[in-house]
C-alpha cells in the first residue's frame, strides 16, 4: 500500500533502558504495565464511591434527583464525551506511532490528545459558568439556588460538582504530565530509552476517558424523564 504521507522520517530504534532491580527488559515492561493497572484499580474505586452516593441519592430522593438532572447541561456533557472518545483515539495513535519509532507522528498525536483534553476543560469551564449563571453552584451560595424548595436536589448537584470536579482535576494532571512527556519525547533518542512511558501514560489517559464514560450517564442521563 502506498504510504499516505511521504514526508515522515524513517522509523527510529525502539527500546527501554534496563533498571538495576530488573533482570530482563520484558520483566520491566510487564512490571510497569502491572503497576499502572493496580493504580487504575484505586482510581476506579475512588470514583466508585462518588457514583455510589449518586445512586443512593437516586434511591432516597427519586423525584428531586430527576428535577436536578434536568438542570444539568445535557448537550455540553454529550459533546464532552465525544471529545474524550476522540482524544482516546489520538492517544492510541501516539502509542502505535511510538511502537513503530515514528517520533514526529507520535509527538503530533500526543499534542492532538492534549489539545482535545484542553477542549474538554474549556467546555467544562463553560458548563460550570452556565451552572453559575443558573445559581446551581453549591458554595457560592450568596446567589439564590435554582430549586430553592427542593433541598434534596442540592445533594445531587453537590455530588455532580464533586464527581465532575475530581474528574477535571484528573484531566488537568493528565494534560500536565502529557506536556512534560511530549517535551521529553520530542528529544532525539528518547524512543530508544523510554518508549514504555508512552504506553503507561496511554493507559492512564484511556482510563480518564473510561471514568467519564461511566460518570456521564450516571449523572446526566439516567431517568431524566
Amino acid at each position: 500500500m502506498r504510504p499516505v504521507l511521504s514526508y515522515v522520517a524513517a522509523a527510529l530504534p525502539v527500546d527501554i533502558a534496563l533498571e538495576e532491580q530488573f533482570t530482563t527488559k520484558a520483566q520491566q515492561r510487564h512490571a510497569a504495565k502491572f503497576g499502572m493497572w493496580c493504580w487504575l484499580i484505586t482510581e476506579l474505586l475512588l470514583f466508585g464511591g462518588l457514583l455510589l452516593v449518586a445512586t443512593v441519592l437516586r434511591v432516597l430522593h427519586p423525584a428531586s434527583v430527576s428535577a436536578a438532572a434536568t438542570h444539568l447541561k445535557f448537550w455540553i456533557g454529550a459533546s464532552n464525551t465525544v471529545v474524550l472518545i476522540c482524544s482516546s483515539l489520538t492517544m492510541s495513535g501516539a502509542i502505535n506511532a511510538s511502537r513503530l519509532g515514528l517520533q514526529t507522528l507520535m509527538v503530533r498525536c500526543m499534542l492532538a490528545t492534549g489539545g482535545l483534553g484542553s477542549v474538554f476543560l474549556l467546555l467544562k469551564a463553560y458548563e460550570y459558568y452556565r451552572d453559575y449563571q443558573e445559581h446551581m453552584v453549591p458554595f457560592l451560595d450568596w446567589r439564590p439556588y435554582a430549586l430553592p424548595h427542593d433541598h434534596a436536589s442540592r445533594l445531587f448537584i453537590n455530588d455532580y460538582f464533586a464527581a465532575t470536579g475530581l474528574h477535571g482535576v484528573h484531566l488537568i494532571t493528565g494534560i500536565a504530565i502529557l506536556l512534560v512527556l511530549t517535551r521529553q519525547a520530542s528529544r532525539a533518542g528518547y524512543l530508544s530509552l523510554h518508549q514504555n512511558r508512552i504506553e503507561i501514560f496511554g493507559l492512564y489517559w484511556h482510563f480518564i476517558d473510561l471514568v467519564w464514560i461511566i460518570v456521564f450517564p450516571t449523572l446526566y442521563l439516567v431517568n431524566r424523564g
Partner: protein
C-alpha cells in the same frame, strides 16, 4: 442493676425476657468458645513442654498436611457457630417487630439530653418511667447528631438519626430503677447524657402519670399545632384548595405519582410535612409548602400523633380521596 449497689458487680441484672434470653445466648456461645479453644491452649502448653528442644521424644513420621483434618476443623466450628447465628437472628427479628398493643412513647435526643413524651402529654428529661408487663414502643429521633438510646438492663439499644424515625420496643417485667445511657459518641457531654429507667407496676405507673403535670395529651397538642400552622385550612375540607383528607391515612397504602404505593407510617407523615415534594401522591398537584425549620421535633411528634388519631387504617366512610 440498682446503682451503687455493690462495688464489684460482674453481671448486669436482667429486667426483661429478652434480656434473660440474651444472657442465655451469651452463656451458650461462651461455652462453645471454651469448647473450641481450651483444648488448643492445653495442647500448646503440653506440646511446648513435651516436645521441647533437646528432649528425646517420639517425633517420627511428622505429617504436615492432612486434607480431611483441615477441612473438618474448619467446617465443624463453622456449623456449630451457625446455631448461635440463627438464635441471635431470630431474637433480632422479634426485636424488629413491635406488637400492636404497645404504649407509644416518643424520645427526642438533643446534644446532651433526652426528652421522653408519653401519649398523655407528660414529658420527662433524661429519665423514663414505664409500666412493667406491657410492651412499650419508643419512637426516637435526634435533633442534631447521631445519638443512641441504650438500656443495658433490657440488653437493647437503638441509634437516633437526625433524618428519620427509628424505633425500639421492649416488655420489661422486673420493677426497679436501672441506668439509661447514650451509647453513640455525640460530643462534649456524651457521658453526661443519661439517666434512670424506672420500671413500675402498672397501677403505680398510672398514679405517676396523673401526678405529673401535662399540658394536655399529645393528640390535643397536635390538634392545636394542626390549626396553629394552618394545616386545618386545607386538610379539613371546605377550603378553596383541594387537599387530601387525612382521615384513615395512617397505616394505609398511599398511591404515588411515580407509580407504586407507600405505607403511610410516622416517617412518611414527618417527611410529608418537612419535604412535601418527596414521594408526591397520585391525583393531586403538589401545592403544600415545606414546614422545614418552622416545626421542631417536639411539635412534630404531637402533629404526627394527631394525624394518627384521625382513625387508623380502618376505612372510615366519607373518606374523600
Amino acid at each position: 442493676m440498682k446503682p451503687d449497689q455493690q462495688a464489684l458487680a460482674l453481671w448486669p441484672t436482667s429486667a426483661s425476657l429478652n434480656a434473660a434470653e440474651t444472657d442465655h445466648l451469651v452463656f451458650g456461645f461462651t461455652a462453645l468458645t471454651l469448647l473450641l479453644t481450651v483444648p488448643i491452649f492445653i495442647a500448646i502448653t503440653v506440646f511446648a513442654i513435651w516436645f521441647r528442644d533437646g528432649r528425646i521424644a517420639h517425633r517420627s513420621y511428622r505429617e504436615n498436611r492432612n486434607r480431611l483434618l483441615e477441612v473438618s476443623w474448619m467446617l465443624i466450628p463453622f456449623l456449630l457457630t451457625l446455631v448461635f447465628f440463627y438464635w441471635g437472628a431470630r431474637m433480632f427479628d422479634t426485636q424488629k417487630h413491635a406488637p400492636g398493643d404497645a404504649i407509644h412513647i416518643s424520645a427526642i435526643a438533643k446534644q446532651w439530653m433526652w426528652k421522653f413524651q408519653h401519649p398523655g402529654g407528660q414529658a420527662e428529661i433524661n429519665d423514663l418511667h414505664v409500666p412493667a408487663g406491657q410492651p412499650v414502643v419508643i419512637t426516637m429521633i435526634s435533633q442534631d447528631v447521631i445519638h443512641a438510646l441504650f438500656l443495658p438492663a433490657l440488653r437493647i439499644q437503638m441509634e437516633t438519626l437526625p433524618d428519620r424515625y427509628t424505633e425500639l420496643w421492649f416488655k420489661a417485667d422486673r420493677p426497679g430503677t436501672y441506668r439509661l445511657y447514650c451509647s453513640e459518641y455525640c460530643g462534649t457531654d456524651h457521658s453526661e447524657m443519661g439517666g434512670y429507667l424506672t420500671i413500675m407496676q402498672p397501677a403505680a405507673y398510672q398514679r405517676w402519670l396523673e401526678r405529673s403535670s401535662t399540658p394536655g395529651s399529645l393528640v390535643a397538642q397536635g390538634r392545636a399545632a394542626f390549626s396553629a400552622h394552618g394545616c386545618s385550612g386545607c386538610h379539613d375540607g371546605g377550603g378553596m384548595v383541594r387537599a387530601p383528607s387525612l382521615a384513615g391515612l395512617f397505616g394505609s397504602p398511599v398511591p404515588l405519582a411515580s407509580g407504586g404505593t407507600l405505607v403511610a407510617d410516622d416517617g412518611y407523615i414527618r417527611d410529608k410535612i418537612l419535604d412535601p415534594g418527596r414521594n408526591q401522591i397520585a391525583g393531586y398537584r403538589q401545592l403544600m409548602p415545606s414546614f422545614k425549620g418552622a416545626i421542631d421535633e417536639g411539635e412534630m411528634i404531637a402533629l404526627v400523633s394527631y394525624v394518627k388519631s384521625l382513625g387508623s387504617a380502618a376505612p372510615s366512610e366519607g373518606a374523600t380521596p
